[in-house]
């Protein structure tokens, strides 16, 4: 069965510092990977997906199949990036079902 691991429950950085939120997955096939974000008192929303190879709000994530990782990175963190971040995957067999990690709470300090 597929699994998503986010090893850090909490991550705290200072404004302007680089940030990397780690995500590892286990799945023998080719999954689709996503990052979802939940800002305080807001609903869960899609941040980016690996197939789009896009940068959203300065965040990027590269799928590394060799290391089965999909880490989220931003070179200069902003206070408004403080939020809960969830890594998720969809597998080919059930291409509608998101499997989420437990999430990482990012705090960007002034």
């Amino acid at each position: 069965a597929q699994r998503v691991t986010q090893p850090e429950k909490l991550l705290s950085v200072f404004k302007g510092a680089p940030v990397e939120l780690k995500c590892n997955y286990s799945y023998s096939g080719s999954p689709e990977l996503f990052w979802y974000v939940q800002y305080s008192r807001q609903r869960l929303q899609l941040l980016l997906r690996h197939i789009s190879r896009e940068s959203i709000k300065g965040f990027t994530a590269d799928l590394n199949k060799g290391e089965t990782s999909f880490h989220l990175k931003k070179p200069f963190a902003q206070e408004e990036d403080s939020a809960m971040y969830y890594c998720a995957l969809i597998t080919g067999g059930s291409n509608y079902k998101l499997t989420f990690g437990k999430g990482t709470l990012l705090t960007v300090n002034p």
Partner: protein, 115 residues
């Protein structure tokens, strides 16, 4: 509406009671999903509807849980004989079509507390 709407936003019920949680998806979205998020965990899949039918209910934890979507729009998640372990945030999401290529939009959730 502008987004996925869930009612109520909070529900407190006594152990053993029956509850219904409602989800209004984005108009025109054929795919609808229910997830459950327990404290400290990520959302966990419960059930997926394509139109009116439950295409995958493999995530429902037991037969106390049931969901319907009779007209292919609004969905109701029903929990019988609630237990304290059912306390969680229940999330509904919808997408235009199923599949990872189509973004799933989430509601704000219903926080269920069983006392």
């Amino acid at each position: 509406g502008a987004g996925v709407s869930q009612t109520p936003s909070n529900k407190v019920t006594e152990k053993g009671k029956y509850v219904e949680l409602r989800c209004d998806p984005i108009s025109g979205h054929t795919a609808l999903y229910w997830y459950r998020q327990s404290l400290g965990q990520g959302p966990e899949f419960l059930i997926y509807f394509q139109g009116t039918g439950a295409a995958d209910d493999s995530g429902l934890p037991n037969d106390r849980f049931f969901a319907v979507r009779p007209e292919g729009s609004v969905s109701t998640l029903k929990i019988q004989r609630t237990e304290r372990g059912d306390s969680a945030v229940y999330l509904c999401a919808s997408s235009l079509t199923p599949g990872g290529g189509t973004e799933a939009f989430f509601g704000q959730g219903t926080r269920l507390t069983v006392v």
